[in-house]
């Protein structure tokens, strides 16, 4: 996949997208915030040019109603070189992704100057909110190299004057700014490297023109659209398609249209003040490698010394850069608050410090609820947030609950996170002020624990959508190494923190007085592997828990309840009356102090060190309905 051309930060369109288009088009009701949010949501996939054309029709229909909710209207005039008629609907179709509703008025083919000079031209008489001037190096007569510097300068000046004339003639009819594109240079060098320094080369003349355009922007209220930068990033060889130019005067390859349309729309959103303002960061495996609760300060990977550590340093560096230009930083992590803050306070390689974070939400609540809390605490709209998280489960939960939060897809390689986040363009700026740069400082560093909102998210319906399959089997030879690893490595979701050697684990496979469980979980995003290990000591009347641990990565999925149901079923079948659970406190397992309480056990005894004994009377236990399929298997005996 080409990250830029395929808009890699966006999800791939779902298989049923045409059905969704159809049902949205057939909706007879008045538009409201629900239908507008649905329009924003469907535009938030990486749509191709056909799908964008479809959305543009939905947008056109939507524009007929005067009702306004979360979408901002903008009328864009489009004056450019070549055939713009395939590009116009793509721009309109990309608008809802950036919460805008666009009307695009095209100028007549090849008549840029006439469109600007005549007050009754289609663009001028539409009284647009802005006009995009998208002229091509060929129309500006910079496609032929010239021999001497004076002639070159003359050509550049002529091209610049041409742009100025068009711009100044359009201005009286505009309600807003001009959007001026930098010109994309051709990619066929006449000399080779010398094209960069020979001022008469096509490439040098285009570069000189772009410098003058940038200067011009700096002095006024017009807005720069750096198409040259975009083409550079995606590669001129991907951008230019001479065959398409010759066949239909397409100014750039049609495959680039979705990317180009997105650039235009993010610029318009920025003009309307809708660029995002806050970057919310997950912690584990997003700004450092590993899980701080399990790996500890010494175990997380950050800094020089490993490729992975360096990649996460670069991510933190990028976050700080954003902060220095006025983007507010926040943290949203599933972690104990004190443990989550440790790296910020004590890790020598951390670039981010607590004072850089304006809102710090580290708890075991779902992330959508935490994002709502952050939005409240910072007093900024939920639509101002960008959420960066390596875990597709968390990303999808947030998208489902809060479709207005921007959640980029991330590749597996963290070294690419900065590239994906910056190219998604959430923080596009059309102007930068001194106030902007100081904004992040206005938020007091939040040293105290933020108030956690009670979860208001519809987790169960989300969980049901994940097609979770939970497989439970007794300990066996196949799982032995991984079981031993989990037993010795898990610290947080670990009720007793008892450590056993692999030999001791092997012995449990055949011990008649041990009830053992290895639990695996598969979901829509993939196979999570073995995520929980549970062992009960069997006696005639009661089974007592020896080990109960789980990977924090699957918190909130109700796996613990599935485990309990499994144990209860087995215990009841053997005539057992009760289950006994022990909580043995450690430095790291505070999060499971009330684990048994949540599962319906009764507190039987407490000790001074915080430890507790809990009891469940099996005749009072009823298994709950769970949002997953549970498969119980016999062990896979290794002969």
């Amino acid at each position: 996949m080409n990250l830029l051309a395929d808009l890699g930060w966006l999800r791939r369109p779902p298989a049923d997208i045409r059905d969704r288009f159809r049902s949205m088009a057939g909706n007879p009701n008045q538009p409201d915030i629900v239908s507008d949010t649905a329009l924003i949501d469907i535009a938030s996939y990486a749509l191709d040019i056909n799908q964008l054309t479809r959305v543009s029709r939905l947008a056109t229909d939507r524009l007929k109603s005067p009702i306004d909710t979360v979408l901002t209207r903008f009328k864009l005039g489009l004056i450019g070189s070549g055939t713009m008629s395939l590009i116009a609907p793509a721009i309109a179709g990309s608008g809802p992704r950036h919460s805008t509703l666009l009307t695009v008025v095209e100028g007549d083919y090849g008549r840029a100057l006439e469109e600007s000079l005549s007050p009754t031209s289609s663009v001028r008489s539409a009284q647009p909110d802005g006009v995009l001037l998208a002229l091509d190096y060929r129309d500006l007569h910079l496609d032929t190299a010239v021999a001497d510097p004076d002639t070159a300068a003359g050509r550049v000046s002529a091209a610049f004057s041409h742009l100025q004339t068009i711009a100044e003639n359009l201005r009286p009819s505009l309600k807003g700014p001009l959007l001026l594109q930098t010109v994309v240079p051709p990619m066929e060098p006449l000399f080779g490297s010398l094209d960069a320094s020979e001022c008469g080369s096509s490439r040098a003349m285009v570069t000189a023109l772009n410098a003058r355009i940038a200067n011009w922007i700096r002095e006024g209220d017009d807005v720069l659209v750096d198409t040259a930068g975009l083409a550079n990033a995606v590669g001129l060889q991907n951008w230019h398609d001479p065959a398409q130019w010759h066949a239909a005067k397409l100014p750039f390859a049609q495959e680039m249209v979705p990317l180009y349309a997105d650039l235009i729309c993010r610029t318009i959103a920025a003009i309307r003040g809708k660029s995002r303002k806050c970057l919310v960061l997950d912690l584990d495996n997003t700004i450092w490698g590993g899980v701080v609760g399990d790996d500890g300060l010494e175990g997380i990977r950050l800094g020089q010394g490993s490729a992975e550590g360096e990649a996460f340093l670069a991510i933190q560096h990028m976050a700080l850069e954003y902060r220095s230009r006025g983007i507010v930083l926040a943290v949203c992590s599933k972690n104990d608050d004190t443990i989550a803050r440790q790296p910020f306070r004590a890790h020598p390689d951390m670039l981010l410090k607590e004072e850089h974070i304006a809102a710090f939400q580290a708890n075991w609540n779902d992330k959508a609820s935490n994002l709502r809390a952050i939005s409240e605490q910072l007093n900024i709209g939920i639509e101002s947030l960008v959420f960066l998280d390596d875990n597709p489960f968390e990303r999808e939960q947030v998208r489902r609950e809060l479709p207005l939060v921007a959640v980029p897809e991330l590749p597996l390689e963290p070294a690419l996170y900065p590239r994906v986040l910056t190219w998604a363009g959430y923080f596009e700026a059309v102007a930068i002020s001194a106030e902007d740069r100081k904004r992040a400082d206005f938020y007091q560093a939040n040293a105290t624990r933020s108030a956690v909102l009670a979860s208001s998210s519809d987790m169960d319906s989300y969980l049901r959508s994940l097609d979770m399959l939970c497989t439970i089997r007794p300990f066996d030879g196949v799982g032995r190494a991984r079981i031993a690893q989990l037993i010795n490595r898990s610290n947080q979701f670990n009720l007793t923190t008892r450590r056993y050697t692999e030999n001791e684990v092997a012995a449990m496979e055949t011990a008649p007085d041990k009830f053992t469980m290895q639990v695996r979980l598969v979901d829509r995003f993939g196979d999570n592997g073995m995520i929980s290990v549970v062992v009960f000591d069997k006696s005639v009347h009661a089974w007592t828990n020896d080990i109960w641990l789980m990977s924090c990565r699957v918190l909130g999925r109700r796996v613990e309840e599935a485990v309990l149901a499994h144990v209860c079923m087995a215990a009841k079948a053997e005539g057992v009356k009760s289950l006994i659970g022990h909580y043995i406190p450690s430095a790291k397992n505070g999060m499971v102090a009330n684990h048994y309480g949540k599962l319906g056990f009764t507190l039987a005894d407490e000790s001074n060190d915080g430890g507790a004994v809990w009891v469940l009377e099996l005749e009072r236990y009823r298994p709950p309905e769970l949002p997953m399929q549970i498969t119980r298997q016999e062990s896979t005996r290794v002969a």
Binding site: T53, A243, H246, A247, A248, E255
Partner: protein, 79 residues
């Protein structure tokens, strides 16, 4: 040898490009038979086909195509 392309595969693409689930292309069908099939949507059709089958047509090849049958043959020749 190359793979076979079916009219069903092309139908799927055409329905997407022309946004019409009722189109039932036959080998004799031409642009005149489909209201949404103009010079611009023709470009989208060619580009969509190129992307779907990972092939490239030259302009000269595109200019020779008269009907859906020609299109199917042209695609198959590239697979």
């Amino acid at each position: 040898m190359g793979m076979h392309v079916t009219i069903d595969q092309l139908t799927e693409i055409m329905r997407d490009v022309f946004d019409d689930d009722n189109i039932k292309p036959t080998e004799a069908m031409t642009a005149d038979d489909v209201e949404a099939w103009d010079s611009l949507s023709h470009i989208r059709l060619i580009v969509s086909i190129e992307k779907r089958f990972d092939i490239k047509f030259t302009n000269a090849e595109v200019e020779t195509l008269r009907n859906v049958g020609d299109l199917l043959n042209a695609i198959e020749a590239k697979l």
